[in-house]
């Protein structure tokens, strides 16, 4: 059984309440089409569970097969440094079919952030060490592709359609003595 070796900390990108009984961690890649599909599934789960679910996103760019994945992750981290991580994260996935460097700048400007500052961050790879750290921690935890999910620290193996994740999270809630 693969378990999350890097605990969730305030340095993570977190949506939801710290007191939520279930934490779903995703290791994802902005250029991976499967992650693009997972994006809307997560939104549905968040809607369904409300405050019972906390969601954490960590970077796992497969840079050799996805040439834009690393810059996209850097762009999201750049936005995160300005308190706008989730808007950028959502924008990148919602526009995944036209993912490109110009799109990253377009989204940056839409958020009212400085394109010049993004250019500088991308050129100096300011956020790459954080992304690499996410990646290494993921490998250590048994992330074997994208997306990989952990539910309360345990890797979710097998299919991850909405119904699959719903069943897995419900099971966890029942174990915790909460009604699903």
């Amino acid at each position: 059984m693969a378990v999350l070796k890097v605990p969730v900390t305030p340095n993570d990108h977190i949506q939801g309440d710290d007191g939520a009984p279930v934490t779903l961690v995703e290791y994802g890649d902005y250029e991976c089409p499967f992650c693009g599909r997972a994006y809307s599934i997560i939104k549905q789960l968040q809607q369904h569970y409300g405050p019972q679910l906390r969601f954490v996103f960590r970077n796992f760019p497969l840079a050799q097969i996805h040439p834009l994945a690393e810059s996209a992750a850097e762009t999201a981290e750049f936005a995160g440094a300005h308190g706008r991580f989730w808007e950028m994260h959502d924008g990148l996935y919602e526009n995944q079919d036209r993912l490109s460097v110009p799109l990253m700048f377009e989204l940056t400007e839409e958020l009212g952030l400085s394109a010049a500052a993004l250019r500088k961050a991308l050129a100096s790879h300011e956020f790459l060490p954080k992304i690499r750290a996410d990646f290494s921690g993921g490998v250590r935890s048994g992330v074997n592709g994208t997306p990989t999910f952990f539910i309360n620290g345990v890797r979710h193996d097998g299919p991850w359609e909405y119904e699959d994740l719903l069943a897995a999270i419900d099971a966890r809630l029942v174990q915790l003595g909460r009604t699903a």
Binding site: C32, A63, I65, V139, R140, N144, G145
Partner: protein, 171 residues
């Protein structure tokens, strides 16, 4: 699942095509750790398949001086096209003729399917198997087991060096 060669076994030597016109023998890699990753087939239709993952983790394997070899029954031309498509930076060997011969020697052949198992072996610098693992064929085993085995090897290596270098009078 097949019974793969366990730790403590000397890894059987082999010579396989690494490109359509080049061969590689395991014995050429003596002196550094070797990772053998047997896998069923090129072109599995997912992002972050096993070989793509190892490609990304390669720098961590290299920190331990380890050499990674992927092995399947696919032909050398198929491997060449697959490696090019996925930008793989490590060799893929063809266990193609006689088909599956090397996989069989490692106990990593699925006779019914005619494919290699998803079996991993970590060898020390002398060619001894120090860790092996066979994953269900549909499950990508990831890289953490390999990294742990390499770390064990590196720390043992250090200890041995310590002993060798300590002066003989310091008993």
């Amino acid at each position: 699942m097949a019974q793969i060669l366990p730790p403590g076994t000397q890894a059987p030597d082999f010579t396989l095509n690494v490109t359509p016109d080049q061969k590689l023998s395991l014995s050429e890699l003596r002196g550094r750790p070797v990772i053998l990753a047997f896998y069923p087939a090129d072109w599995s239709p997912v992002c972050g398949d096993q070989m793509s993952l190892y490609n990304e983790v390669l720098p961590e394997f290299e920190k331990h001086g380890a050499e990674l070899l992927g092995i399947s029954v696919d032909g050398a031309w198929c491997h060449a096209a697959f490696a090019k498509d996925r930008h793989l930076h490590f060799p893929l060997l063809s266990d193609f003729e006689p088909k599956g011969d090397v996989s069989r020697k490692y106990g990593a052949y699925r006779h019914n399917d005619g494919l290699s198992e998803r079996a991993l072996f970590v060898l020390d610098k002398d060619g001894n198997i120090v860790w092996s693992y066979c994953s269900p064929v549909a499950v990508n085993p990831g890289a953490e087991g390999i990294l742990e085995a390499l770390e064990d090897l590196s720390s043992k290596e250090k200890n041995t060096h310590g002993r060798v270098e300590s002066p003989s009078y310091a008993k």
